[in-house]
């Protein structure tokens, strides 16, 4: 076990999946900024009512909103072009943190997710490949990709499990949020129950299936349908689209994260059956 972890801790992966993560994340971050933009002026205004977070208090009030927004935009652009992407991720993370930490009223799951992924992208070498289609400049460490993928699994698991609370199963949590022409056209009384159930199953399926090569592509399709379905059926909230992009940005990380894990699993299986020799370490491609 210790030897396996030592190998994983030193393992490297191709850079293209992380480059895709970086670019999709930056799009999500820019979308989030676009939706929150009009709240920046009042958000940092010391004369407005603020609801402080513990620890942070009122320390961030009075920050120039243009400085925070500027850092956010520049950071996202650095991530998109792949130049000093760690600096870009740090700029997005710090500016997003400043906006969300200055006032509890700014909290949203999309914004929180953007901050968490940004922190992980500071750790990851997402610039190992200049673009999602390559070529690789160098190999990237495996473990940040593993954390990025694990983060999405955790989010989907918690979100999915809560779709199976009693109040959710009755459709009460969805019914009041249904919105849009699709809902009017379908007009089915059990639509809230069905959407809640399908959403929960999709989230739990994606949380697990993204880890396995056999089911990964299907999970990506299901995940895309899940988030597009949320946007089509439910009442619009500012950070819903950003949350979708943030979630999608982590799908490529599963390609990078799962390769070394699969090799360790194969090695473990081989060790248990002495007839099969342990696999030789191989240079694994980005799409392993």
């Amino acid at each position: 076990m210790i030897a396996a972890w030592e190998r994983l801790a030193s393992a490297t992966v191709g850079g293209r999946p992380l480059a895709a993560t970086r670019v999709l994340y930056a799009i999500g971050a820019l979308w989030l900024l676009r939706t929150d933009h009009r709240r920046f002026a009042t958000g940092f205004d010391p004369d407005r009512l603020h609801l402080d977070w513990p620890l942070v208090g009122g320390h961030l009030r009075g920050l120039p909103p243009t400085l925070v927004e500027g850092a956010w935009v520049i950071g996202a652009l650095l991530l998109i072009v792949g130049i000093v992407p760690r600096v870009g991720a740090a700029a997005v993370t710090l500016s997003a943190f400043a906006f969300y930490a200055v006032d509890r009223q700014h909290y949203g799951n999309g914004g929180y997710f953007i901050v968490l992924i940004g922190m992980l992208l500071v750790l990851a070498d997402s610039g190992a490949s200049a673009t999602p289609w390559g070529p690789d400049r160098r190999r990237a460490s495996w473990w940040p990709a593993f954390l990025l993928a694990s983060q999405l699994t955790i989010v989907y698991l918690y979100a999915g499990v809560q779709k199976f609370r009693h109040s959710s199963l009755t459709g009460d949590t969805i019914a009041w949020q249904l919105h849009g022409p699709l809902v009017d056209r379908i007009g089915w009384s059990h639509l809230p129950v069905a959407l809640n159930l399908l959403g929960g199953i999709a989230e739990l399926f994606c949380a697990i299936a993204l880890w396995f090569a056999l089911t990964r592509k299907l999970a990506v399709v299901v995940g895309v349908i899940l988030h597009v379905g949320i946007l089509c059926f439910l009442r619009w909230s500012p950070d819903m689209a950003a949350f979708a992009f943030a979630s999608w940005s982590l799908y490529p990380a599963f390609w990078a994260a799962s390769g070394p894990l699969a090799e360790e699993l194969a090695r473990w299986r081989a060790a248990r059956s002495p007839a099969d020799p342990a696999p030789e370490p191989v240079r694994r491609s980005a799409t392993a």
Binding site: S10, L49, L51, R104, Q105, L147, T173
Partner: protein, 126 residues
Amino acid sequence: MEAGDASDDPRRRRRRAVWVGLVVGGWLAIQLAVPAIALVERGGKPRPRTFAWQMFSHQLEAPAESFTVTTASGSRAVDVRPLLTGPMRREIRYAPALVPKLCEDPAVLSVTVTDVESGTTTVACR
């Protein structure tokens, strides 16, 4: 799987494994514990909790708190949205910040807060 430079020296490799283990284990532990604690704290209560990844899993159509002020001429419900910098979020308890704000009006004698979880409380302003 390809090992980096750390694989050349067993001691460096071991040290790297320990550091990576601490970072990975620490991150995952926090990310698993924070929503779990929030959900345990929520229990069966209607108000969602922050950091708990509760997407579309609460049934509060209206905000979780409503405010009524009492003046010499009677009581009236207050629309607090103009005082806020965003939409009223159901996770947040606004009363600790909003009651003092509403009491700043010298005409207001008391503020009554109706919260979906803690019920109705009245705070005297003066």
